[in-house]
Amino acid sequence: MSATAKPIANTRSGTGIPTARLITWWVIASEIVIFGGLLASYIMHRIAHPEWAESASHTLTWAGALNTFVLLTSSLCAVLAHQAANAHDGPKAAKLLRLTSLGGLIFLCIKGYEWTLDIREGFVLSSGGFWSFYYTLAGLHGLHVLAGMIILLIVAAEAAKNRELQRVECIGLYWHFVDIVWIFLFPLLYIAR
């Protein structure tokens, strides 16, 4: 793409925000309702059932903490990629986006290990109210991580050629939101006992 032919996603901005970023904010707003509804439902059920604390005591706090660290670090990579894109350094942004995606992969591996242990101990989706919420919330979040990883790699492939750099910020916004969701899932599922 030539320097003069900017894409609509970066130029059309009736609201004062480039369209691509505007769409990302709308996606995040809808995700707030999706995760917010689930979290609100979990919180009210958890308060109504103090006995769920016993089930929650079986979750691995170290695994949740390690995953929080991994996501925070991947968020750092995503925002540094945004900074690199602002400096017109596409290859550096691409490298940082791939590191962000690697963070997502590590997160899912830890989650997979954790779930394997849980299932081996007999804690499955139908083991009780707490475990239903645990697998639903963490599973939905994991799907978002997986989707983010794929999009990160697609955006990185273009950014490496110094193309469509406006997308770097958009996928970064999505990734930070996924990070924030985990920031609340960690205390709810692993710490509150």
Partner: protein, 117 residues
């Protein structure tokens, strides 16, 4: 094609270090047997971490004003949902009604615990 710079980039590594320090606080706090300390370590720290990510990584503070309004509106919808549904979910009995199943602890998670033992 390049992205349009609309933010001043702070020291991201410093913010990341603060976030990791807060994570350590929440993990250490979770070992406390004092309920107030546990709740602050768990949820107070989570709110601060989320604020730091939204402000410094997502740059919500320098975004057009209606963006944070949009996000806050969505959170308000969740608060309304909570306020509307919570009394039915959280109360196990009331005037002329009783939720027999919900009031039985054995129905919610005890089966899995038995398997583990």
């Amino acid at each position: 094609m390049t992205t349009e710079a609309h933010v001043q980039h702070p020291n991201y590594v410093k913010i990341w270090a603060i976030l990791v320090a807060l994570l350590v606080v929440s993990v250490v706090g979770s070992m406390s047997h004092v309920r107030a300390v546990l709740l602050i370590a768990a949820f107070g720290v989570a709110v601060v971490k989320a604020y730091l990510v939204a402000k410094n990584f997502m740059h919500v503070n320098v975004e057009k004003r209606w963006v944070p309004y949009l996000l806050i509106m969505c959170l308000l919808f969740i608060a309304i949902l909570f306020a509307g549904v919570a009394p039915d979910v959280m109360k196990h009995s009331g005037l002329n009604w009783n939720k027999n199943l919900a009031s039985q602890p054995a129905q919610s998670g005890a089966r899995a615990t038995t398997k583990n033992e």
